[in-house]
């Protein structure tokens, strides 16, 4: 005897993500979910980004890691509120789920905050499937990885709204084919903005910062698509 169910398997997470999205919107906070494989430079990118943007836009960060508070310690030095999530307290999860972000957000004072970065666990697979209530998703790759990362992880690159190719300062020392990497990203997501930059030297940061500011403006003027 067959009993119809017809439900999304992740419906509990999706409901919680919608709830987060509503709460963040109410508070006027723009939320960016930053994802990458381990070591692509998410934390360095956020450090460099915060050093500039937090001068004019009040920011906060939620950092997810399986263990350690190293990333949170680095980001706290940028002078913005930082909330650390160690996913091993939740079973060593390889991604942040909506309820975990909700708990971290509750523990922060978001009054006056306009931009919240969520640095996800370093992983190009699992975080792609879990909505956390963000406005935008950004994937970071770096020139020390293969140019074919987008083709190997299409779900991640397809579900993101912008891509960053980090560590451009290393290009002279590598055989990395930047055009091929960009083409691979655009094969998966033809209209996606791609920012090639070096979080270390600051080269190429301006277009990325402008994109961020435009997203926040869009949301506060209520024209977010």
């Amino acid at each position: 005897m067959e009993i119809k169910v017809v439900r999304k398997v992740l419906s509990v997470n999706e409901k919680m993500a919608e709830e987060n999205r509503r709460l963040f919107s109410q508070k006027g906070v723009y939320v960016i979910n930053v994802m990458s494989s381990p070591g692509s430079g998410k934390t360095a990118l956020l450090e460099r980004t915060l050093a500039d943007i937090s001068k004019t836009i009040p920011c906060a960060v939620i950092v997810g890691d399986i263990c350690t508070t190293h990333d949170a310690d680095r980001l706290a030095r940028c002078g913005v509120p930082v909330s650390q999530i160690n996913t091993d307290a939740f079973g060593g999860e390889c991604h942040l789920a909506a309820h975990v972000v909700e708990k971290a957000a509750q523990e922060m004072d978001l009054a006056g905050i306009r931009l919240l970065f969520v640095e996800n666990v370093g992983n190009l697979v699992c975080p792609a499937e879990f909505d956390i209530g963000e406005d935008s998703r950004v994937v970071v790759m770096s020139v020390t990885e293969g140019e074919d990362k987008p083709l190997k992880y299409p779900v991640m690159f397809r579900t993101c709204h912008a891509a960053v190719i980090n560590k451009s300062d290393l290009l002279p020392h590598l055989d990395y084919d930047l055009d091929q990497a960009r083409a691979n990203i655009l094969n998966i997501h033809p209209e996606m903005p791609v920012f090639t930059l070096s979080a270390k030297t600051g080269e190429g940061m301006t277009p990325w910062l402008e994109w961020l500011r435009a997203r926040i403006e869009e949301k506060s003027s209520g024209t977010t698509g």
Partner: protein, 125 residues
């Protein structure tokens, strides 16, 4: 990696879906629809499901997985096509803006439970 969590969600939803009158009946199978453009590996999911379903009403149930193709619709020319590889531009007009009509499903469609007739039939064997 996250298949364990997904298996646990499936067990939660499937357990809740067993009608009161059939509590305790054996669940033969769970029918799932999983899109090709999801980060879910069917074999890992089955492996995890077999482990976490022990001591639940789903113990011994099999996962019947229907894999759905990645189908897109172009915003420019309204053409629809099935993607066979990771190339998301419209083959007709080259447009890059598209809506995915299928391929991102991760749905639990139905459960199959042993009902009284099955139970009698089995008992009579």
């Amino acid at each position: 990696m996250h298949e364990m969590g997904i298996a646990m969600e499936i067990i939660e939803i499937a357990s809740q879906s067993i009608p009161e009158a059939l509590k305790g009946a054996k669940v033969h199978s769970v029918r799932l629809k999983i899109g090709k453009l999801t980060a879910v590996v069917a074999e890992s999911l089955r492996f995890c499901f077999d482990i976490v379903s022990r001591d639940t009403p789903l113990n011994g149930a099999v996962l019947r997985i229907e894999e759905t193709p990645v189908v897109a619709r172009c915003h420019e020319c309204a053409g629809e096509w099935t993607l066979e590889g990771p190339f998301f531009s419209c083959p007709a007009c080259g447009g890059g803006k598209l809506t995915l009509i299928s391929g991102r499903e991760l749905d639990i469609e139905a459960i199959e439970i042993e009902d009284e007739d099955d139970a009698h039939a089995n008992g009579g064997k």
